[in-house]
Amino acid sequence: MADQLPEHPAFLWRNPDPKPSYDAVIVGGGGHGLATAYYLAKNHGMTNIAILERGWLAGGNMARNTTIIRSNYLWDESAAIYEHSIRLWEQLPEELDYDFLFSQRGVLNLAHTLQDVRESRRRVNANQLNGVDAEFLEPDQVKEACPIINVSDDIRYPVMGATYQPRAGIAKHDHVAWAFARAIDAMGVDIIQNCEVTGFVKDGNRVVGVETNRGRIGAGKVGLAAAGHSSVLADQAGFRLPIQSRPLQALVSELFEPVHPTVVMSNHVHVYVSQAHKGELVLGAGVDAYNGYGQRGGFHIIEDQMAAAVELFPIFSRAHLLRTWGGVVDTTFDASPIISPTPIDELYVNCGWGTGGFKGTPGAGYTFAHTIATGAPHPLNEPFLLDRFETGHLIDEHGAAGVAH
């Protein structure tokens, strides 16, 4: 018999009609939009605000991600913001009074080549100095942390070690969104669904409102948190963003009794997997090659991933692919996000989180709220402004070019 997940609160949020205007409007009701509204209300006292969501709340990437939360990023700037985010994750269940199943079960990032090992050690060493819990595990320690991994060296790309972050883990994505939604609804924030922003109202170079399919809504400030759709909105507002929207797929199996105690990621063979709370295996695939807003990708990507999964986890052989889906991720050149003012006054943007922004949800909301409320970046998002593309100070989280010799 399977345990049921904790019951949800009996009430989550109202479904109000939009008011004629708000002090601030957040475009996009994904995790980032919700968290931004939460911290605007909580930290900056702004409650006359609305979240405008074109579909159903948190139905974008928030509904589609593999929910991995970690902060073991290489560069100082990234480690700082992601670690801040983890610290917020750690206090949010209590703060929001909602058990969204944040499970700090640890994340392993596998190394399969000598170059992987070098990069892993570099990252672990940097993490430790940055106050991020991290260690490098040898293959036998990997086996201990996750007994179902095949660490034998007779596979094409044997496991040569892994980085391990014990405080990393997963959370139940929908519940996270609903936890924020319930909290902001209670603070008076209007959550307006089926409300698509289709244009911006400007007074000179200053944004003063948005056009939507439910009419014009005035706004003192506007924050874009539309993830994969940010470019479309930026276009409407009259500026460009250095992002490309790509399909990213994920999949689940049916429910199984627990076998997988942690989270395993392998960039080299493109697979990341955890066993979610109900018992399904949740796996993420590689990004499809082309720009796409279709929330779907090619099946060959899934097949590649299945091959990698079965090599690494022979126990998954007779698990069944139950459902595949795709999201629209906003990728940047340096695989780092953008949390920034824009060329238009009082219009701010949070985007570019690409394949990894779920973990950043509270951190993004926290810093974006600061940026919107004060008009200036928080020190944590100072490095993540649009100007880095001009100065060349990119924060390249791709890892090394993968070339050797």
Binding site: R54, G55, W56, H229, S231, V232, A289, G294, G298
Partner: protein, 110 residues
Amino acid sequence: MLLIDCPHCGPRDEVEFHYGGQAHVPYPVDPYALSDRAWAEFLFYRDNPRGPFAERWVHAVGCRKWFNAIRDTVTYEFLAVYPMGSPPPNTSTASPPAHDSAHDSGSDPS
């Protein structure tokens, strides 16, 4: 698995191609005449429309030739394929407008 009509080889499966991003972004005639901002535009800023998009592909395991295509980024349908160096053809009448949603499920219509 997209079916991509290579102008030289005809329709082949997506796995034979590499994607090249936005088409018609020439190397600046005089990079040194550009401001840092304008150079950043060349390096990092690309259009990212929802709908028809002029983009480049290369038939990597086939004829190794680059070409341009117009593809709808919502339906993934190719509206035109044309050689490198040619201006984009007018596709607005070539095919029906992209429709959005899987069905009326109230889900995110994309």
